[in-house]
């Protein structure tokens, strides 16, 4: 990240390949996680092709998993819609954040295409990248991440429990490693972010063990804690005017 030439304007092609480069570990992690998701899809009665379609258009682990349990129960369509809405609601927040990283004159088509694959991980590398959002970076990452996710799901439906449990366990932390790569450098450089990250760890741990909260799904707890902690941060440590905001943006990308 630090040695990336940011002052000279890279071509679309360069940016696209930069996206592929950063999307590669995501694609590998996706492949493994979606493989296990495919097992859930098979249990819900989906064919490999249906699993492929579900993952291609949803790109969501918890959301798809929740949806497959609804499908497996043969529940009403409305229930599936509500379940999907709750499990994926955090993407609405991420989409709001990403909207602020776009240059205001960005054409609608780029906004739609980038929005298509706002996942936890793609969102992470999008935020970590310096300067305004370049859609070609996202397209590069999407070009490897989306096949990894959707083909992995299809193979999971076909091959079930083929991968040894040791490999699944080891590879399952790849995505967490990526989250840490996104949040730790800014937490080191910005005290407020650092304190918020620590508070998030603590609050997340406590809420997972507190009666009344622990019964909620992990996705719902994530939304509640995100709203609460980010609001506290914004109320007590508001960021400076937009130009200062941009400076912070650059320092945490380095």
């Amino acid at each position: 990240m630090a040695d990336r030439p940011s002052d000279l304007l890279p071509s679309r092609r360069d940016v696209f390949f930069e996206g592929i480069h950063d999307g590669m570990p995501i694609a590998l992690g996706y492949f493994v996680v979606s493989f296990t998701l495919g097992i859930a899809a098979r249990n819900a009665g989906l064919t490999p092709f249906q699993g492929f379609l579900a993952s291609l258009f949803n790109n969501a682990s918890a959301g798809e998993y929740a949806a497959f349990t609804v499908i497996a129960a043969d529940a009403p369509y409305l229930e599936l819609a509500i379940m999907t809405l709750i499990a994926n609601a955090r993407y609405m927040l991420m989409s709001c954040v990403a909207s602020q990283k776009f240059a205001p004159d960005t054409p609608l088509i780029h906004r739609i295409l980038v929005g298509f694959d706002i996942t936890d991980e793609i969102f992470g590398i999008t935020i970590a990248r310096k300067g305004p959002l370049n859609p070609y970076y996202n397209y590069g990452a999407m070009s490897v991440a989306m096949p990894g996710w959707s083909i992995g799901t299809a193979l999971g439906v076909i091959a079930g429990n083929l991968l040894p449990v040791q490999a699944v366990s080891a590879l399952s932390v790849a995505l967490f490693g990526m989250f840490l790569w996104v949040i730790i450098p800014p937490a080191r450089d910005n005290r407020v972010i650092g304190a918020l990250v620590l508070a998030s760890f603590a609050a997340s741990f406590l809420s997972a063990h507190t009666p009344g909260l622990m019964e909620l799904s992990a996705g719902t707890r994530t939304i509640i804690l995100t709203l609460a902690l980010a609001a506290i941060g914004a109320a007590f440590f508001p960021v400076k005017d937009p130009s200062a905001d941009r400076e912070e943006d650059e320092s945490h990308a380095a």
């Binding site: 990240m1 579900a54 819609a81 991420m94 906004r111 967490f176 730790i184 990250v197 980010a230 905001d245």
Partner: protein
């Protein structure tokens, strides 16, 4: 199975895509409100941190390997390691620790 799987897929995909695309296309100007801007600035760090811990302890076969991967990931990211190195180190540590502990 009384419901059609393809209709199920259509419903879930429509909801998910609307969640992702609608804010991105509707909010087309920079938000001026200071609280909102600050809020959106902090959201990614909080939300990724909340999703990481304690979940990382629960996805591995034993919490010990997850905890060590977490510590290593934080240390490597702190000293500026690349995305690939941080991710790969976390995986490697889980694999080695579980190989030693669980055989």
């Amino acid at each position: 199975m009384r419901h059609d799987i393809y209709l199920y897929l259509l419903v879930m995909s429509a909801v998910t895509l609307a969640i992702r695309i609608v804010p991105l296309t509707l909010i087309r100007r920079q938000i001026k409100n200071r609280f909102l801007r600050s809020f959106l600035f902090y959201v990614p760090y909080v939300t990724l941190a909340v999703m990481t811990f304690p979940a990382i302890l629960e996805t591995t076969q034993t919490p010990v390997s997850g905890a060590l991967a977490l510590a290593a990931g934080i240390a490597l990211a702190w000293y500026g390691a690349s995305l690939f190195k941080v991710s790969a180190a976390c995986c490697l540590i889980v694999f080695c620790v579980e190989w030693m502990l669980l055989g």
